[in-house]
């Protein structure tokens, strides 16, 4: 299974242009890194089919059906519903059969370690738990393609760690794209890194190949990966 962008391009009225992008995403976790406003969320919406293209196309190879899981940057969850009720609704919306729905919800809750909170109202969850529930809603229908937009933003270090563990489990066995500007997420998750700057892909490789871009010792106080990213973005500007 894969997702392929062929000359994919979108243009905003403000003048911002994303693309043209020619990429293929295969099974595994790909992290999309870039500064704020570099086009990460736009690329995600484009891949999810939520953004009109002004050129090119996006092709999904998912054995005939496009089962897509999506975690938006700021997920809106129905605070007064319980975790289980919400996931049941999402499973129904995503076409999970009635016979399979209860198991699917249970598996999604287990994948993000929220089984013991299943019947708790969402508004009673901590920020990290709510984000894990949002990940659960993205995987409850066992999608072949999983798009996670800034899944750890706004969380404290402990919450981020637990969410990252959930992401790692959720991202296996499918085409998974994680957008982030936190390099610690990248190190903990990525099989492949894409760096985006001003609407264009400026790097596509592994953590190792990105770190190899740094010719000397990293800048004081920065990791090798951070220095590499800084170099890449500066050179693109």
């Amino acid at each position: 299974m894969f997702v392929r962008c062929t000359g994919s391009m979108t243009r905003y009225r403000s003048g911002f242009v994303l693309g043209p992008i020619d990429l293929t995403f295969a099974e595994g976790i790909t992290c999309l890194v870039g500064a704020n406003g570099s086009g990460k969320s736009t690329l995600f919406r484009m891949l999810a089919g939520m953004q009109s293209l002004t050129g090119g196309g996006v092709e999904y190879d998912d054995h005939g059906s496009r089962r897509l899981g999506f975690l938006p940057q700021s997920p809106e969850l129905p605070g007064r519903a319980t975790c289980r009720e919400f996931l049941h609704l999402v499973a129904w919306v995503q076409g999970v059969t009635k016979a399979r729905r209860t198991d699917a919800v249970q598996e999604a809750l287990a994948a993000v370690c929220l089984e013991d909170r299943a019947d708790q109202q969402i508004r009673e969850l901590s920020g990290g738990m709510a984000r894990r529930l949002a990940i659960a809603q993205a995987i409850v229908h066992d999608p072949a393609i999983l798009l996670l937009d800034e899944p750890t933003v706004g969380l404290d270090p402990v919450q981020r760690l637990s969410v990252r563990e959930s992401l790692h489990a959720a991202g296996q066995g499918r085409v998974t794209l994680v957008s982030t500007h936190l390099l610690e997420d990248v190190r903990g998750l990525a099989d492949r890194i894409l760096v985006l700057s001003e609407g264009a892909v400026i790097f596509d490789g592994t953590i190792q190949t990105m770190e190899d871009l740094v010719p000397e010792a990293p800048v004081a106080g920065q990791s090798l990966l951070e220095t590499a990213l800084t170099l890449l973005i500066r050179s693109a500007e």
Binding site: A48, G49, Q51, F70, P72, Q73, S74, V93
Partner: protein, 426 residues
């Protein structure tokens, strides 16, 4: 777990809560004006349409907010990227429309049971058709709210949908029901009896088709993201334009005629064995005792005093299509005083009995009868009320002089003979 579980819907959506204003408005309407519709099936269905436009406008606003919330950037992926893209919005819409239909249906059943409607003269099928169109109308308002909520942020969606729904009511309801033009949102609302009328099935059919077609479009259409806005794709936009044009032009191409049309003339069958025989329509049997008491008092008084011209063998309730024409039989419509206030006005009943309804002069608004006709009529009515020991002054708003004088039996006979020959101008 059931997807249609009310608990989550009531906790996550505003739509289901529209059931509260709906229950209040339907309940108030049910009990309003001494519930004169009770017992008459057709009138019951039509009467229940009175609050529908307010409920519809409120529902449109509430559903617009729900749909707009579901399409905020943080949740719109459950619509735009889902396997079944219309399901989430359908879920929200159904949880507003379903309870409204339930309330409306329960209200109708309550009214029919309370009125002991068991054999409506108009027929159950006709009633079912009119009721179905009312239900489609409620769902249409819900769909309209959902359509507006697709493109407007939640804070604005409610007020905009309420405003839009109100404007559609003004434009497409029966505001000008006097004209026989088609009105998509005319669901009834009769405040007087409908005996003698039936619904125009062609009218209801076109209403149903347009409500279903436009409602389905509004419920199923999925927006697309263009830039930062939610908008419609070109084919959907063109379809919307066509739907608006079809609805706006419906007055020109829809079948002509009123929503209700005359039914076959039928005499009343619920007769009381008295002298005179008094017959009213079966649907109005709960008013039989009240009407018969006043009629008997009037007839007995005239008989005792020797005013034979006022005495009849048979008194029959008339309808929109039936007026008794046999000699010795007088007709009277269902008293509006009973419908309006719950108490019978003897003056109204006496006036109805003496009015020569078959005379064409009374149906020609361009050439109304002269004042002398009205004076004669009032004088005879006042005389009759005097004879029955009723105070005409308290019941009649006419000139005190001519209603205080009692006419002789000969004068009454002369006037009524003139009326019988439709000589209203002397």
């Amino acid at each position: 777990m059931r997807i249609l579980s009310p608990s989550m819907a009531f906790r996550s959506l505003y739509g289901p809560w529209v059931v509260l204003p709906a229950l209040t408005l339907e309940g108030v309407n049910l009990l309003n004006r001494h519930h004169p519709y009770l017992g008459e099936g057709a009138w019951t269905v039509d009467w229940l349409a009175i609050p529908l436009w307010i409920i519809g406008v409120v529902a449109a606003g509430v559903v617009a907010i729900d749909v707009a919330r579901l399409l905020r950037p943080g949740s719109r992926h459950l619509v735009l990227t889902a396997t079944h893209r219309s399901r989430l919005l359908l879920w929200a819409t159904a949880w507003a429309g379903g309870p409204l239909l339930l309330v409306h249906t329960l209200t109708l059943i309550t009214a029919l049971v309370a009125g002991r409607v068991n054999d409506p003269s108009v027929g159950w099928a006709q009633m079912g058709a009119a009721y179905s169109v009312q239900c489609l109308g409620l769902l249409w308002f819900v769909a309209l709210g959902g359509l507006i909520g697709r493109f407007i942020p939640p804070l604005l969606a409610g007020p905009v949908a309420v405003g839009a729904a109100f404007l559609t009511v003004l434009a497409l309801s029966g505001a000008s029901a006097g004209t026989p033009a088609f009105r998509l949102l005319n669901f009834g609302g009769a405040t007087i009896t409908l005996i003698g009328l039936r619904w125009n099935l062609a009218y209801l059919g076109v209403q149903a088709l347009l409500l279903i077609g436009s409602g389905l479009f509004a419920v199923l259409v999925i927006p697309t993201v263009r830039g930062a806005r939610l908008t419609l794709r070109w084919p959907a936009l063109l379809t919307l334009i066509v739907i608006v044009a079809v609805i706006a032009s419906a007055t020109r191409w829809a079948p002509p005629g009123h929503r209700t049309v005359p039914a076959a003339a039928a005499a009343p069958t619920h007769c009381l064995s008295r002298a005179p025989v008094i017959c009213i329509y079966y649907e109005h049997r709960r008013d039989a005792a009240t009407i018969a008491a006043t009629l008997t008092r009037l007839e007995s008084a005239a008989n005792r005093a020797g005013y034979s011209a006022l005495v009849s063998d048979r008194l029959e309730e008339s309808s929109r299509t039936y007026t008794p024409t046999r000699a010795g039989t007088r007709g009277f419509p269902h008293p509006s005083s009973l419908e309006d206030t719950g108490t019978l006005d003897p003056n109204e009943l006496a006036t109805s009995l003496l009015t020569p309804l078959t005379c064409p002069q009374l149906r020609d608004p361009a050439k109304p009868p002269p004042d002398s006709y009205w004076l004669n009529l009032e004088s005879v009515v006042a005389t009759w009320l005097h004879l029955a020991g009723l105070d005409p002054a308290s019941a009649m708003a006419g000139d005190p002089e001519h209603i205080s004088d009692k006419l002789s039996a000969q004068k009454v006979t002369s006037i009524l003979q003139g009326f019988a020959q439709c000589k209203l101008t002397e």
